[in-house]
């Protein structure tokens, strides 16, 4: 049984209706202490992502980007509303959804003492492969990402942050996901690694036909890579459209603004300001 190609389905890659999620904040519990309100991560969010596109989700920390991705990855259960991936409900049909997706997160999550090969073989096994040709596929994939083959059998902890993130992307390639959820994959990378990763995201669509949902707070990255952009603020959609349409919509005196300017005008503040205000849950 191979991972089912979902891209031929008629359903949108992602369809969310009225998704809400709040997290209980720990803290004051005693009667005389001031109660701490819940953190609202997503507030009745409606969202549709077309199959085959790279869709960017922009927003500061605490805007709900990571919660959105975790719900789609079946790692968080929404409080209300429905979320579907290629027509399958993320709560009711979670097992089926898991066959369609993979995720690259901001921290390259690996068994740190194990080598890239051992980590990738483990992933391959969980996704229905791991046979004789896996080593070849892994080697080709890492070579393609510009990683020397000598890194293949070294412990992950000896690799740089950029190298680890490339292995994380190679790991997601290995499972041939129909929907790839990328949660700030370039945060904390040096400029060169960041550019390499951004190029790879582009190849995912052209060569693997995957739908990509890319969460980022790098507005230039979103403008360069994404076909469609959704701006989130406090768990709700503030604006959405293609980068060109969003820029055209906010044209002033014949000057087309950058996506960053658009964000500033819509939200009334910069991402950096918002990050300082952002809560614990992303």
């Amino acid at each position: 049984m191979a991972i089912q190609p979902a891209t031929q389905m008629n359903s949108p890659a992602i369809e969310m209706r009225g998704i809400s999620k709040r997290f209980r904040r720990t803290g004051a519990r005693l009667p005389w202490q001031k109660p701490v309100s819940d953190k609202v991560a997503l507030a009745a969010l409606d969202l549709t992502v077309a199959t085959g596109a790279i869709t960017g989700v922009i927003g500061p920390n605490g805007s709900g980007k990571s919660t959105l991705i975790r719900i789609l990855a079946t790692l968080t259960v929404p409080d209300s509303g429905t979320a579907r991936v290629f027509g399958c409900d993320v709560v009711e049909d979670a097992a089926q959804v898991r066959r369609f997706i993979n995720r690259v997160s901001v921290e390259a999550a690996f068994f740190k003492e194990m080598s890239p090969w051992e980590n990738m073989l483990y992933t391959a096994r969980l996704y229905g492969s791991g046979g004789g040709d896996t080593r070849d596929r892994v080697e080709k994939s890492l070579h393609r990402l510009g990683l020397p083959l000598s890194t293949l059998d070294r412990p992950m902890k000896q690799l740089s942050r950029g190298q680890q993130q490339k292995v994380a992307i190679a790991r997601s390639f290995l499972t041939s996901p129909s929907l790839l959820l990328m949660d700030e994959p370039t945060t904390g990378l040096d400029p060169r690694s960041r550019r390499d990763v951004q190029e790879l995201v582009g190849t995912l669509r052209t060569e693997h036909g995957a739908t990509v949902l890319l969460s980022t707070h790098d507005l230039r990255e979103a403008e360069t890579l994404c076909d469609y952009v959704i701006i989130l603020e406090r768990g709700a959609v503030l604006a959405e459209g293609t980068p060109a349409a969003l820029r055209a919509r906010h044209e002033l005196d014949g000057v087309v603004p950058s996506l960053e300017d658009v964000y500033l005008r819509i939200s009334g503040k910069s991402l950096e300001e918002d990050e300082e205000e952002g809560g614990e849950e992303g």
Binding site: R98, F111, T123, G128
Partner: protein, 278 residues
């Protein structure tokens, strides 16, 4: 479940065995320390029995040897059973520590495959470790196994593995629900098992409430069955009550453990507990 789905799960099961093998290989230095620690602890128990004669506690050499064997069986079995229990119980804690928990939980495999894969490896590894320590004990203490029925002892051990896995699965949901305190709670469960299961003394010496806890611990019946087989040369038929009881406990505890783990997983996902590393 279809044949292709079974094949998928079997492939993932192999993946968990391979992963555990690779982790143990990479953390070999830690493992050496743990093996040494377990060996030293077990030997200490053996020498404790040897020393009873010197401090005038027991003067009959035959009885002394029986006491020593009683204690060593307890120590060796405890080293195996507690190791399997801890490995299963720490399945979640370990992945939280590595930061891979969300990736494993997101993979398209059944939780039973995940937990039983980790459990199976820990059984094989635990047996290998216990055999090594057992060999050292036999050599150092000149253990007389002429009264031992190894076949029925082996069957008791195999039967004991099932409830132990169930108990481990039940315990490993503690770190899932409480990232901060779950590990310590696991250790507390392990300590309670040591106290009430008759590892170094008969359960009958315990106060009533602790005896009651000992009655529901599968380790109690494992130790009873093993001692009957190894000290009293009891055959398969005579140890059958212990074996049947252990298998019965396994039949209840494994499905119950998986079911309750599923509920705990849903709760962790509802409260957003998976990503926290404690």
């Amino acid at each position: 479940m279809t044949v292709s789905a079974l094949r998928w799960e079997a492939n993932a099961f192999v993946g968990f065995l391979e992963r555990q093998k690779n982790l143990y290989k990479r953390y070999w230095a830690w493992e050496m320390v743990w093996v040494l620690y377990t060996l030293v602890t077990t030997l200490s128990i053996g020498y404790l029995a040897s020393g009873l004669n010197s401090i005038g506690m027991h003067e009959d050499p035959g009885k002394l040897q029986a006491v020593q064997l009683y204690l060593l069986i307890g120590a060796l079995l405890w080293s195996y059973l507690s190791m399997v229990f801890v490995e299963v119980a720490w399945t979640i804690s370990w992945e939280r520590w590595e930061g891979t928990i969300e990736y494993t939980m997101m993979a398209p495999v059944k939780r039973a495959t995940h937990l039983l894969g980790v459990s199976t490896f820990s059984i094989f590894y635990g047996l290998a470790r216990a055999t090594l320590i057992g060999a050292v004990i036999v050599l150092l203490f000149h253990i007389n196994l002429s009264h031992a029925n190894l076949l029925s002892g082996g069957l008791v051990l195999v039967a004991a593995t099932f409830p132990l896995i169930g108990l481990g699965i039940l315990t490993c949901l503690l770190p899932l629900l409480s990232p901060e305190k779950g590990d310590q709670m696991t250790v507390a469960v392990q300590g309670t098992l040591l106290l009430v299961s008759g590892v170094y003394y008969p359960v009958s010496v315990l106060p009533g409430p602790l005896q009651a806890l000992g009655l529901v611990s599968p380790l109690t019946y494992t130790l009873t069955g093993m001692r009957e087989a190894l000290l009293q040369n009891r055959g398969i038929v005579e140890t059958l009550p212990s074996i049947a009881l252990l298998l019965g406990m396994g039949i209840i505890l494994i499905p119950a453990g998986l079911w309750i783990f599923g509920l705990a997983e849903q709760r962790a996902k509802r409260l957003g507990l998976l990503k926290r590393s404690g």
